[in-house]
């Protein structure tokens, strides 16, 4: 019988099926962070429950850590320090490996997990963080859960799940110059809605997907949650195996036949199939307050709910390009990896950000990414252009009460959510690729990165 990759992973992990049709699915890795993980560990301690296998549970400080150089435990967020110190104590008591604030391996959970080989093809990995699906880029079934489910996975080694439906999103054709994985994700969500993947585990496939580097694949899978899917993943190929081989927690090689079988069989059927012409995708930018409210950079704002137009301060028919911005941010689990920084730096080299920009920041996805970028001199390019260069963390992707901007400020951000208030009360967020953020910072207004690239070639 032919099987999809999802079927294979699911069947490998099925411990039992209950009389009522629930599946007990074995969980290979649990990853926590200080924002939601502390709640789970604290409660487990209160009710005296032990972690079944602490060696397969990891934690990192990424969500509310300060990203300013020279940081310690204190954060700009009021009360934030308690999340850090309580998580540290709880991890120590539980015997969990913690990547602490200034550990050389610290970084955003979904950036460091692959860097350390914690995620592996074919495994199940959960974290109380919705963007856990990022790690599906390596052919793992990885998804976000709540704190109670995280406790459940840690104590029992399994989760009680309903089997989701399967979906394949085929992205066929070659991407145009200046178009990235971020644009693919936004294009898909704009076309098929923020609930388009509901009830499904989504496999991304097609030549536009296999052509992506691992960083690009992580960006695409990252936004499976914005598509409403349980998980997003890509069948592992030589690129994925080579990337992971020899990493600290990964096998030295993936030569056994087991690994080569981690793909959907030819002719396997999916409950839902979507095909997208990748060659028709343009650089995308969000115009509203849901990731589905995204348009091509050269398009005009469509008609949307009144409330959304009022919040974002843009009326139907307005060209999105040319909208003045106050803040530019490159970072987050979506786009903060080395290839993201290389592409943004390449565009910025020799340019200055517009004088009207009040803040421009680059927050590398991990301290390892930071070191690599510095070895390549990218930090100098960003700083020369007018960007601040920071330590690693989630930073401006969301607002926890620390660093923020005046109400009504408009940001262009390489993050994943443009929700009302996501980056602070009244902040208007436009999400886009790091290149679009870079080009917009130079222009002082939302700008097409392809134009800046063309100017560079001409000059």
């Amino acid at each position: 019988m032919t099987q999809t990759l999802f079927d294979k992973i699911w069947d490998t992990h099925q411990v039992a099926q209950t009389a009522t049709g629930r599946h007990l699915i074995a969980i290979d890795r649990v990853f926590l962070h200080e924002r939601t993980g502390a709640a789970a560990l604290k409660r487990m301690a209160e009710i005296e429950r032990k972690i079944l296998d602490p060696a397969r549970v990891f934690a990192v400080m990424d969500h509310i850590v300060d990203t300013r150089i020279g940081r310690g435990d204190s954060t700009l967020m009021q009360g934030g320090e308690a999340f850090i110190t309580e998580t540290r104590a709880a991890c120590r008591d539980a015997g969990i490996t913690l990547f602490d604030v200034n550990d050389r391996d610290q970084g955003i959970i979904h950036v460091i997990s692959p860097e350390l080989g914690i995620v592996l093809p074919g495994i199940t990995l959960v974290a109380p963080d919705s963007h856990t699906c990022t790690q599906g880029a390596f052919g793992a079934l990885a998804w976000g859960i709540g704190s109670s489910e995280a406790e459940h996975a840690m104590v029992t080694g399994v989760l009680r799940l309903e089997r989701p439906k399967t979906m394949r999103v085929l992205l066929e054709g070659a991407l145009s110059e200046g178009v990235t994985a971020k644009d693919m994700a936004l294009h898909l969500i704009a076309l098929h809605s923020a609930g388009g993947g509901a009830g499904h585990a989504v496999e991304f496939a097609g030549d536009a997907v296999t052509a992506l580097d691992m960083e690009g694949r992580m960006t695409l899978c990252n936004m499976a949650t914005e598509f409403g899917a349980m998980a997003g993943f890509i069948a592992p190929d030589a690129k994925a195996f080579d990337w992971l081989a020899g990493k600290r927690y990964a096998p030295d090689n993936f030569d056994e036949p087991y690994w080569a079988n981690l793909q959907s069989d030819a002719g396997a059927s999916f409950d839902t199939e979507i095909t997208i012409d990748a060659s028709a995708i343009a650089p995308m930018v969000s115009w509203g307050t849901s990731p589905e409210q995204a348009i091509a950079i050269d398009a005009r704002v469509p008609a949307g709910p009144r409330k959304v137009h009022d919040y974002i301060g843009l009326e139907e028919g307005t060209a999105i390009a040319g909208t003045p911005i106050d803040v530019a941010f490159i970072g987050s689990c979506t786009n903060s990896r080395i290839s993201d920084l290389r592409l943004a730096a390449k565009l910025l080299e020799g340019h200055l950000i517009a004088p009207t920009i009040k803040k421009a920041m680059v927050v590398p996805g991990s301290l390892s990414v930071k070191r690599q970028a510095e070895a390549e001199g990218l930090d100098k390019i960003f700083e020369a252009a007018g960007f601040e260069w920071r330590m690693s963390g989630c930073s401006l992707c969301f607002y926890a009460g620390g660093e923020g901007f005046p109400k009504g400020s408009r940001t262009i951000s390489s993050t994943n959510r443009n929700f009302e208030g996501r980056q602070g009360p009244g902040i208007r967020t436009h999400i886009a690729s790091p290149e679009t953020v870079a080009a917009s910072a130079v222009a002082g207004a939302i700008a097409d990165p392809r134009e800046l690239a063309r100017k560079k070639v001409a000059s």
């Binding site: 009522t20 290979d28 939601t36 709640a39 999340f83 859960i145 709540g146 109670s148 459940h152």
Partner: protein
């Protein structure tokens, strides 16, 4: 987890907006301690208050209106609870007193979080939600029915989840009854997939 009654009713607070995200339900800045309590005050803070810091109520927001200030049932739109996995969104709703949400659809992590915290997530077609919003509705959990506005609507819920909600069963306790099967499976898996099992440190 507390048991839910078999039947209860209330005025369904109308908040039928699509893609309401967990940042709106409980903003990150309202999550001020690592625990699960003390969150109801920050529920829907961006919409409920004109000034969230000063807690100045926004009179236009549904939960600030007399009929709904102690609502137990919420009527919502499509993809309710999307975004961040924070269970704090459900803890805040539960602490406020919400025990059922009738929505066009739910985001998956939020849906699972509801089931673990004594809130029944009820997905119904948009027409039904529109009819029930702002009406007095009665929920019959055993029969999986919602009645209101002179209509009866059936809803789906996983039988195990229903059993757990009605009996206040803790999911971990339930799973631990299968501890033997999990141990046997793990022993076999250690041989089949040794790379999954790690030493304490490497």
């Amino acid at each position: 987890m507390k048991k839910l009654p078999d039947v209860w009713g209330g005025d369904a607070a109308p908040l039928v907006v699509d893609n309401v995200d967990t940042d709106t339900i409980i903003p990150s800045r309202e999550m001020r301690s690592t625990g699960r309590a003390g969150l109801a005050d920050g529920l829907f803070a961006p919409w409920r208050y004109t000034d969230a810091d000063a807690r100045t109520p926004n009179p236009d927001f549904v939960l600030n209106q007399d009929t709904y200030s102690s609502a137990t049932i919420l009527a919502a739109g499509e993809n309710f609870g999307c975004g961040s996995s924070r269970e704090h969104a459900v803890w805040a709703l539960a602490e406020f007193g919400i025990t059922a949400i009738i929505a066009v659809s739910f985001a998956p992590i939020f849906y699972a979080n509801c089931l673990r915290n004594g809130i029944v997530p009820i997905a119904l077609p948009r027409k039904a939600v529109d009819r029930l919003a702002a009406e007095y509705v009665t929920i019959h959990l055993t029969d999986q029915q919602v009645t209101g506005a002179g209509n009866i609507y059936n809803f789906d819920i996983d039988p195990e989840a229903k059993h757990m909600l009605l009996n206040g069963v803790d999911a971990i306790d339930l799973t631990l009854t299968d501890r033997g099967a999990i141990e046997t499976w793990t022993q076999r898996d250690r041989t089949a997939r040794p790379w999954v099992y790690l030493e304490q440190t490497k």
